[in-house]
């Protein structure tokens, strides 16, 4: 029996996960409270995307140990779509193209499945149109993207913006943004970061995965975590990003290996 006394949204303890028989996550620990912004940084292949996908319930990964509590609920017991409907959102590092399905239809169906989950009435095409136009404003996207197939032929940056549009629409409790900044031009970065900030509030939480300190100038994190080899090996404040930018990851990795803080 789990009772939610705190404002903790997500609590991950010793999470391990495999793909086929290979361990990828080797004991992740993370606690995220309402109103917080966390950043996860770390070398390529260190398990950042895997971590986000395991939280969202991607079927390619098998959880082999540990626990994840989301808003007092055992997250790992839920199907991927139930996790999404109860407020987990993942902005993908590589958003897929879905030919033949219009962005507008996709967004409406996604929105309505969440409404249904909340016991609310589904909105019709007419009301939805009004709602989505308002959301487009948050990421400054043109309405013409609604009639195109989901992400089909979108530029890299447009796809990322479309992810944030989905976030704006679904208003998640916990949003995990996996390298949403990569591929964005300078103006787009500012716009997307502005959108994310606009969506951040004391009730929800955001985890951004990034390689660049630059994003963190716009989306200012409360904590920065460094991953290596399937674990978080160091946690610090926002100044850690600057240090990483300057010195790279080696010193953190070494320190973790010798168990000495520098």
């Amino acid at each position: 029996m789990i009772i939610d006394h705190s404002n903790v949204i997500l609590s991950v303890k010793n999470l391990t996960a495999n793909v086929d028989e290979t361990p990828i996550l080797k004991g992740m620990n993370l606690e995220v409270k309402a109103g917080e912004i966390h950043a996860i940084m770390g070398p390529n292949g260190s398990g950042k995307s895997t971590f986000s996908k395991v939280l969202a319930g991607h079927p390619a990964y098998q959880v082999t140990g540990g626990e994840v509590i989301f808003q007092g609920q055992d997250l790992l017991a839920l199907e991927p779509e139930e996790r999404a409907r109860s407020g987990i959102f993942l902005a993908f590092q590589y958003p897929l193209e879905i030919p033949g399905v219009s962005n507008l239809d996709f967004l409406r169906v996604a929105y309505n499945s969440k409404r249904k989950h909340q016991g609310l009435e589904e909105v019709d095409a007419f009301d939805f149109d009004e709602l989505i136009r308002e959301k487009l404003g948050i990421v400054k996207m043109d309405a013409s993207f609604l009639s195109r197939s989901v992400n089909e032929g979108f530029s890299g940056g447009e796809k990322k913006r479309n992810e944030i549009l989905q976030m704006a629409l679904l208003e998640p409790k916990l949003a995990i943004l996996d390298e949403t900044d990569s591929g964005l031009d300078i103006d787009a970065l500012r716009i997307v970061a502005g959108g994310v900030n606009q969506l951040s509030n004391p009730e929800n939480a955001i985890v951004v995965i990034t390689h660049y300190q630059r994003l963190l100038e716009y989306i200012v994190p409360d904590y920065i975590h460094v991953t290596a080899n399937g674990r978080i090996i160091r946690t610090g404040g926002k100044e850690l990003a600057l240090e990483l930018e300057e010195r790279g990851y080696d010193w953190v990795l070494e320190a973790a290996a010798t168990g000495v803080a520098s």
Binding site: E81, A84, F89, L90, I98, G100, V101, F106, H117, Q166
Partner: protein, 478 residues
């Protein structure tokens, strides 16, 4: 292992019931005597018996084709019943005289034979095993001079039309199954649209195989005189048996000057169970002749059933400026096999054809598109556009494309595009991550994939087809 997408469950087939009705059945097997017997049971004119015997003799000399990407155990043609008709009064004067069991059967299949229940503006010819049991709205159609009746009746009442056109598009010896059909066909529909007439309602034939041991060999002939037009629909279902039934139909269409025929099929024969036991072998020859200038024939098919589908609705474009179209969705699941496509034969000048083929394969099924575009030496300015898209659902299904192109005229222009896409774990996860269930995700992706074809179907059938595909794929993931 990541088995989410690959675990397959067969959706119960809701048309799988058998009607308990007394039938007039002839003994199994095929011989010249059986051909004569069928002909005499139908009270046919003499020319029909000759037509059948000629076909039968040719069939004896032919071999079953084996070039298609389908595999099945040898068919024992001597173990099939070639004629099975529900026992009822020989000649029916009105729908009220149709055996209530039969009316009920069609009612259960969602086909109302009662003209009072005019839910839609569709006239129906209902075929049960080997015979037509009822044709609705005949009088109303007759006012416009439109003939819509069973082909057996047409042979007796309009022998000159039948003799003129039957076998004119698909000759008796065209191919193995067409020859077999020509020898033993028992019923089917006949449509004749007189000059300058736009048929006032949709015409449709509903085929039902009931007997587990009989084959169904129906024959459809549609003639559109100069300046006329008609839209015709064909639907089919069968009970679930764990043996296979042979369905070898022939459909012939003739369009004269400026005439237009639109032929749509929603095929939902029983496909066999999830291990491939039972189901219909659907070996069908469908061909349209655009004989007149500016004529147009358009085939739209949604193929979802049958254990094996072998079917190439074709257009022979003889008239100058004539147009042939082929829009197809073929879905295979579990162990189904489909080898389907079209032939567009350009003979006249400025003839145009369009081929849009969408193959969807799930489970362990095999789905092949096979198409021929042939441009003859006199077909100046002929054009063809072909687009063949395949969609794979899961990791164990197969798709093939075999486009054959023969061009004998240098002014012709032929374009071919093909694509393969996949509904796999990642696509479904993307939808799931936005709160959308696998079922809804698949149905959205499939509707999108098939849009270009569904748009060609008459309204009610487009909705029906969309629903049918979702139903067929339900449980194909998760």
């Amino acid at each position: 292992m990541t088995t989410t997408v690959t675990s397959l469950v067969n959706q119960p087939y809701k048309y799988g019931f058998v009607t308990d009705i007394e039938s007039d059945v002839i003994p199994r097997g095929l011989s010249e005597d059986v051909v004569r017997l069928i002909s005499s049971k139908k009270n046919e004119p003499e020319f029909m018996l000759e037509f059948r015997l000629k076909a039968y003799r040719q069939w004896l000399k032919m071999a079953e084709p084996n070039w298609a990407e389908v595999g099945y155990p040898a068919i024992d043609y001597q173990n099939i019943i070639y004629y099975s008709a529900p026992k009822q009064k020989e000649k029916l004067n009105s729908l009220e005289e149709v055996d209530p069991t039969l009316l009920e059967t069609f009612e259960k299949l969602g086909i109302s034979l009662s003209e009072q229940k005019r839910l839609s503006n569709v006239a129906v010819d209902a075929i049960f095993d080997s015979v037509s049991v009822a044709t609705t709205f005949r009088e109303k159609l007759a006012k416009d001079g439109v003939i819509f009746c069973s082909i057996s009746e047409a042979m007796r009442e309009y022998p000159e039309l039948v003799q003129k056109y039957l076998g004119s598009v698909v000759p008796v010896g065209d191919n193995y199954f067409a020859a077999l059909n020509s020898a033993v066909f028992s019923d089917g529909s006949f449509v004749y649209i007189p000059k300058g007439t736009k048929c006032p309602m949709e015409l449709s034939t509903y085929f039902r195989i009931n007997n587990g041991d009989s084959g169904q060999f129906e024959r459809t002939l549609i003639v559109a005189e100069a300046g006329s037009s008609v839209s015709y629909l064909e639907g089919c279902t069968a009970p679930m048996f764990d043996t296979n039934q042979l369905h070898a139909a022939v459909v012939e269409l003739v369009a004269l000057d400026d005439a237009e025929i639109k032929y749509s099929t929603v095929q939902n024969w029983y496909a066999g169970d999830k291990d491939g036991k039972g189901g219909i072998y659907n070996f069908v020859t469908k061909r349209g002749l655009c004989q007149g200038v500016n004529s147009k024939i358009s085939w739209t098919q949604v193929e979802t059933g049958s254990a094996i589908t072998w079917k190439y609705p074709s257009c022979v474009l003889v008239g100058d400026n004539s147009v042939g179209e082929f829009y197809s969705v073929a879905l295979t699941n579990n162990c189904q096999q489909a080898d389907t496509g079209t032939k567009m034969v350009h003979i006249g000048k400025n003839t145009r054809s369009t081929i849009i083929s969408k193959g969807i394969s799930a489970g362990r099924s095999e789905n092949s598109y096979r198409g021929l575009v042939k441009i003859g030496p006199k077909a100046d300015g002929a054009r063809n556009y072909s687009q063949c898209d395949s969609m794979l659902i899961g990791d164990n299904a197969g798709a093939n494309t075999f486009p054959y192109i023969q061009v004998q005229n240098h002014t012709a222009k032929v374009e071919h595009e093909a694509s393969t896409s996949k509904i796999g774990e990642d696509q479904l996860f993307f939808f799931a991550q936005r709160g959308v269930s696998s079922e809804d995700a698949i149905s959205m992706m499939i509707s999108g994939f098939c849009k270009d074809v569904f748009n060609q179907l008459p309204m009610e059938f487009a909705v029906e087809a969309d629903r049918l595909l979702s139903l067929k794929l339900e449980g194909s993931v998760g």
